[in-house]
């Protein structure tokens, strides 16, 4: 055993910032959140906003179907070879946190096959409020909740709401219909997250979409600096 020597390795193992050829790998951003909060639609909106200026790819983690990958394909937000679906064995949080091997394989294959890439979006399967991404898989994470899931979610907190690098509160256009108080959600999110950013987004009206894209650009600027 050689636990302490460095290797001329054939491939990266996890979060290494460099690829085996010495080039910088793509920035990886994870998107997690409850079922139906609009993760896939947010990924689609980000792809539309950024695909002209960046080389992009997406990994989806569907729980028991390939619907998320197929939605992105149908919407034609990216060419099909830039979208990969990972199967998660009924446990979406395991695949993004406890055992990230299949996702690492997917991001590596995307860089090998359609690279060089600037950005890979890794979308989790819909899960609960405790689902967070491993730092071995992503460099930053976005947690997507929606106003219709209950305006008490920011107050309840949990690892996703509290620690995600960006919190997106989606479907703000529905707030009047479901009785959600956006002001209260903003105040609760502020209390849970202190200085961490929050974006209120509606993919119907387009509100907030630019802010999420701008946040991603800022992450990329730091990554490539």
């Amino acid at each position: 055993m050689h636990l302490d020597h460095s290797h001329d390795t054939p491939s990266a193992l996890g979060a290494d910032a460099r690829r085996p050829d010495g080039s910088r790998r793509a920035l990886r951003i994870g998107l997690g959140g409850p079922v139906g909060s609009g993760k896939t639609a947010t990924v689609a909106a980000l792809c539309r906003a950024l695909r002209q200026e960046l080389s992009l790819a997406v990994v989806t983690n569907d729980i028991y179907t390939r619907e998320d990958a197929e939605f992105l394909l149908r919407e034609a937000v990216l060419p099909p070879e830039r979208i990969t679906a990972v199967e998660t064995g009924a446990c979406p949080h395991t695949a993004i946190r406890d055992d990230i091997s299949a996702n690492l394989e997917a991001v590596e294959d995307l860089e090998d096959e359609v690279g060089p890439l600037d950005l890979i979006l890794v979308e989790s399967g819909g899960d609960n409020l405790t689902a967070t991404f491993s730092k071995g898989l992503v460099d930053a994470q976005i947690f997507v909740i929606d106003v219709a899931g209950g305006d008490d979610i920011p107050r309840k907190g949990g690892p996703g709401v509290t620690t995600a690098d960006l919190l997106v509160v989606n479907k703000t256009d529905l707030a009047p219909y479901v009785g959600s108080d956006l002001g209260r959600m903003a105040a609760d999110a502020k209390a849970q997250r202190a200085e961490l950013p929050v974006v209120f987004q509606s993919l119907r009206t387009g509100d907030g979409v630019k802010d999420v894209a701008a946040w991603v650009r800022a992450q990329l600027a730091v990554w490539t600096a």
Binding site: L3, H7, L13, G14, Y64, T65, G89, D98, D99, E105
Partner: protein, 224 residues
């Protein structure tokens, strides 16, 4: 050699991708062949003495230093289903990543370079055991146990089977797992002397057929 290294490698939480696979249990549940604890036990017993024995022999032979390329070809020859061959390589690649991160070794790096898309999982398991300072019998135990522990935990999710019942199945199979591991090491020693032709080739046709069908399903919980 550290005894506890075997526990690290054999732990179901070892992050090598196995959690997304049912070892054929999902197809067997759908076909009505697994409906509860008793039929899970029969399924696992069948898998142990066929795919499990072959996997354990490959793992043991890898620990004994049999050439990886030969073992990989022998594993291909013993896996008729293309879907299962693809799964074995995928899991081999994922295990390789975890093993290289856990027990860095030049030998693992060399094999990872030779098989960038993955070698068959059981022989990577053998190499991982070797890198961890473990022996052929340890690797065989690990492979034989994995051949039943994967389906058992998958069936807990698929049928909402009582987890104590599933664990009881594994405990009852333990003496047979020991015997399969012993047989596998004996076979692996034979390989060292006589070549890969003497590796066991016990096959489970329903596992192979089930895997081909399962690979085409549009909706499923497990990758295999």
């Amino acid at each position: 050699m550290s005894r506890a290294a075997l526990l690290v490698l054999a732990d179901g939480r070892f992050p090598a991708g196995g959690h997304a696979h049912s070892g054929g249990a999902e197809a067997a549940v759908r076909a009505g062949r697994i409906t509860g604890g008793a039929s899970l036990e029969e399924f696992c017993r069948g898998r142990l003495h066929t795919a499990g024995l072959v996997a354990a022999s490959l793992a043991a032979a890898a620990v004994l230093g049999v050439r990886v390329g030969e073992l990989d070809a022998a594993a291909d020859a013993r896996t008729p289903s293309p879907a299962l061959r693809a799964v074995a390589r995928k899991l081999g690649r994922q295990l390789m990543r975890a093993a290289r991160a856990t027990w860095p070794s030049d030998e693992l790096d060399a094999v990872a370079r030779e098989f960038p898309k993955g070698a068959h999982q059981p022989l990577v398991l053998g190499l991982a055991a070797r890198a961890a300072g473990l022996g052929a019998l340890d690797a065989a135990h690990c492979a034989a146990y994995e051949s039943v522990s994967g389906p058992a935990s998958a069936v807990v999710r698929l049928l909402s089977l009582d987890p104590f019942e599933a664990t009881g199945v594994l405990a009852r199979l333990a003496p047979e797992v020991d015997r399969v591991a012993d047989r596998a090491v004996e076979a692996a020693r034979g390989v060292v002397a006589e070549g890969v032709g003497v590796l066991p080739a016990a096959s489970a046709p329903l596992l192979e057929i089930g895997a081909e069908g399962h690979a085409g399903w549009g909706v499923r919980l497990f990758a295999s």
